[in-house]
Each structure stands twice: as structure tokens, then as C-alpha cells.
Symmetry: C2
Subunit: 302 residues, 2 copies
């Protein structure tokens, strides 16, 4: 019965009245919300948009919270500014976002005039459509920025194609749902599953041998296996001395989120670009701090 | 009605059966748990001990979570090892803990053979009693360590007395409930209230002019005013260039917890003692990182 609740904790209607809903972290621990349903849709993923006074609007995919209006800035700024600012100044010109159909990562990237091209490849056409309607604050400052291109496709297949076309990226951001969180109970795997696999990373390395790769790896305190498993894959594909882990506390995720990075340059812990005025989370101080990991994280990364 | 739930979210009996209970962060956002009640008691504070598979045993005071068995090590290690290791090596010999009747801070302090005396002054006799029964893992390795003294008294009054007696401490740890969280709805103030006040800090400074003072300041993302207000008080009492803020992600608190420190020596960001073997969170790497604050925290500390 608890599994039933886990799989079906979000209402599908009617809209506009107040619901009590929740997201289970474990079968006996959950984040509970009182709020209203704005949108429920099942395309290739189940998407719910809820609204709650504390968090603002919230996007759920397959019953898992993806972000809230109130703290998405932390997740997205850490995802983008750390790899960009770690790189040699001006080095990042072409960026591929695998997933990221919510535009949050592209919004951050396009703050840099040095970045010339940002391609989002997201498999789900509903996500960008719903963001434009419900979450305008996630869009880039200029939503028609000519440097931005959105492709609705499977990033796995698209990377194959880009590789054949000899396309090259300075930075590849993998900004997806957590893999396999709904495997239990006979559910199908998350669409993001393939983007955590060894084969995908081998393709990225072939496509962009000198590219920086950053992948969000969930919140290790509650979902240790995602970071552990992804780290093992990074170690198989990339030189071990080019692999770094960093973290950012995203309160709606319940604490520190982990990011793994393949970084083939010197000293990612030192930011090398100028600080931006228009960030809310990122500064050079938190950049350096992000790489300092607690002892129990080190044990996951062995 | 929501306020009623907030004030009364924990069951008082019967013990041993499974309850759904929660802690409200905001009136429309809460942490929900399924678990069993082990103990409920109203002495000078309302104390509940619940058990839940994910978190283990959990201690609530006045309906607010104080710690869980699963992640209290993060809160306590950050509270203790950062001020100790920041200080000149061997400098910390005598320590006063105001609050801290759960023994967690004393457990960490007594790991250092250099520390000669640890005095806990907690107002509530029920807390140490219940810890001994339900949370033996919070006790010092040697629970009868002769360096440890527990005094059941109001820390405010005790500091007055210590000052008259010319007692001096190298480190003063203020390890209490969050102040005033249950003021709403006509409730009385938390007992910890006075330990966040200017007058209390003036007494600490008089008692130990060269003492390090560290105070837990809640989780600023959800309770910004505690850090902001305490920082204003620190600025009134201590020289501004001796005030530092650091953080540690305590997942059961919903993210980064803040600590304010009055530190009258050089460079607290550099640890100066040897790393201990027997910690789970603390290492020198996380010590340095703890002082790196996100941009939106900086705005709270102005």
C-alpha cells in the first residue's frame, strides 16, 4: 500500500482546489505539501505542476519533484557556473544540454556574452511548452536569443548524430531526472537512464575529446547509489585525475545535490572568469567551497 | 486549523503502533513521517521520541525536530570540530556547552585528549535522562569520562555565576533549540530565547574575553530571521572582524544549517589540529569549505 502511495502521490484533478500531496523520499519519510494543481498531463512522461505558497510553482515528472520556483536558481547556477567559471577564461563557446528542456541551464549559460551557441536536446516536447506557460522565470533573459536552439529528440541518438557530423562542444551538461527512481514496483525505467550509461559517456568523449562534461547525480544522502554508480562509469570512461565531484544545497531536494564533472584542464576549484552581477547563488566563494566534500561522501567516491 | 496542526502534529499515544506525523516548515509545507511513538513527556519542554526506519530514532522538543540518529553526526561534528580545529593547536582546554543536554557536542569534544574540561549546562533534566535510555550513540565514548560535568540549570543564570566566580572558558558552544519558533498562536517563547540575546553574549564576553563562541542559528533558507537577528546581536557585542558564519548540510533539517562564531584568533578557515580518525562528517577539506557562503546568504549577513 505504501508503494501505491509512492507511485500515486499527486492528484490529477480537479484543478484549483487545495490538495494535500507529497513526495516520498523513503517509504516512511516524505515531503508533504498543501497546494493546488495547475496542470496534469501524461505524454511520454507524467507531468504535474502544483502551486504552493512556500515553494511557488513546482514541476513534478513521474511523481518526482524536478524543481520549485523558489530554489531552482541554486540547482541551475551550480550546474552551469561552476564548469564555465572553472574553465580557462573564454574557453566555453559551444554548449550542449542533454535534457534541460526547462530552460533553466540555458538561462544561466546565456548570461555570458562569450558563449556563442547553446543547444538543448530534450526528449519531451511537453516540458518546454509548459515552462513557457507556467514558469517564465526559467526562460533566458531574451527568450528569442539567437544563440539558443531547442531540439526535441532523444539526446542519446542526437549525440550519435552530432558525432557523425563531427560536431564538437566545449561543455556538455547532462540535466535530467534522476535515473531509475521509479523502477520499483514494475515501473519502466526513467527516460534519463541511458544518459547515465557508460556507452553514452563513451560517445560524448568521442564527440568532444576535450569537452567538459557535467552531470547532475541526485542527492547522495538519500540516493547514494546514483552518485556511486555514475562515478564508477566516469572512472571507466574518463581519466581518473579529470573527475571531480561538487555539491550545492538545494533545500527542496532535501539537502546537498551532487554533480560529477569530467574536467580536462587545470584546477577547477579556482574560478577564472569574472563574477556575474545577475546571479543569486553563485559567487567565487561558493565555487571554491563546492568542491569541499564531507568525509562520508568520500566513501561513496571510492 | 493549519496552525492547530502545526502546534499538535505529534501523537502522544498509544505507543508502539504506526502513526503518520509531521513537522511543518511552513503552513503549507511539512516533513512527513510514518513511525512509532516511543516516548511523550511534558516537563519544562514537550519531548517526543519517535522512531522511523529512514531516520532511526528522532527527538522532538516542543514539536520541533532536534536531531535524528541518522544525521545528528553532521550537526554535532560541524558545531564542535570547526571551532576547535580553527583555534591555535592545543588552545582549547576548557569548554562550556550552553544547552547540549543531548551529549552530542560533548561526545565530539571528548575525542580530543587536549581538552581538559567540558561542562554542559542544560535547563531540562529530562533530555539527558532520555538520551541515556534511547540514544546511547550520542553519549561520549566513555560516558563516565571524568572531564565531563553535567549541570541542570538555566545557562543564563549559570554564566552569571561563572562570571562572578571568575571562571574562564576557551570555547563556549550554544547548542539549543531554535528561538521563538513556537511563538505564533499565543505559545510561550522557547526556553532558548534568552541565549540568543545581546545581554547573554555581553555576559559571555565578560566571562571569557578571549573565548571562542559558537552558536547554532537554524536553517536560513526556511528561517532566515534567526541568522539575521543573531548576526545583528553578534555585531553589537563582538568586534565585526571576529565574526564568522559557516554552514553544514543537515538533511533532516532540510538543508544547510548556519553557525555563527566569534573567533578572536587568526584565520579560522584553516584547520590547525590533526584530523581525527573517528569522525564521519568532519575532515579538513569540509572545514575549509564550510566558510564558503552562497550569494543569497551574504545578503542575510549585512
Amino acid at each position: 500500500m505504501v508503494k501505491e502511495i509512492m507511485a500515486n502521490s499527486l492528484p490529477t484533478g480537479p484543478k484549483g482546489i487545495r490538495f494535500l500531496f507529497g513526495e516520498f523520499v523513503h517509504y516512511d519519510y516524505f515531503f508533504g505539501y498543501i497546494g493546488t494543481l495547475l496542470h496534469a498531463e501524461s505524454g511520454i512522461q507524467h507531468i504535474h505542476i502544483m502551486e504552493n505558497e512556500f515553494w511557488g510553482k513546482m514541476l513534478f515528472i513521474n511523481n518526482c519533484l524536478q524543481f520549485t520556483e523558489r530554489d531552482e536558481f541554486i540547482y541551475h547556477e551550480a550546474l552551469v557556473h561552476i564548469p564555465v567559471q572553472a574553465s580557462p577564461k573564454g574557453k566555453i563557446k559551444k554548449v550542449l544540454i542533454c535534457g534541460g528542456g526547462d530552460f533553466g541551464a540555458s538561462r544561466e549559460l546565456l548570461k555570458y556574452p562569450e558563449i556563442e551557441e547553446v543547444i538543448i536536446v530534450d526528449i519531451d516536447p511537453d516540458v518546454p511548452k509548459l515552462i513557457k506557460k507556467y514558469f517564465p522565470s526559467l526562460l533566458p533573459e531574451n527568450p528569442k536569443d539567437p544563440r539558443l536552439k531547442l531540439i526535441t529528440a532523444d539526446a542519446y541518438e542526437m549525440v550519435k548524430k552530432f558525432t557523425r557530423e563531427k560536431k564538437n562542444f566545449d561543455l556538455i551538461i547532462i540535466d535530467t531526472t534522476d535515473p531509475d527512481v521509479s523502477v520499483e514496483g514494475g515501473k519502466t525505467q526513467e527516460l534519463s537512464h541511458a544518459l547515465f550509461a557508460e556507452e553514452f559517456h563513451r560517445m560524448l568523449l568521442e564527440m568532444s575529446p576535450e569537452g567538459i562534461v557535467v552531470q547532475q547525480c541526485g542527492t547522495p544522502f538519500t540516493m547514494k547509489d546514483i552518485l556511486k554508480g555514475t562515478y564508477q562509469i566516469f572512472k571507466k570512461v574518463y581519466p581518473e585525475n579529470e573527475i571531480y565531484c561538487y555539491r550545492a544545497d538545494v533545500p527542496s531536494f532535501g539537502g546537498d545535490n551532487a554533480y560529477l564533472m569530467r574536467f580536462p584542464f587545470e584546477d577547477p576549484k579556482t574560478p577564472k572568469w569574472e563574477e556575474l552581477e545577475n546571479t543569486l547563488y553563485y559567487n567565487h566563494e561558493v565555487h571554491r567551497a563546492s568542491f569541499g566534500l564531507p568525509k562520508f561522501w568520500k566513501e561513496v567516491l571510492e
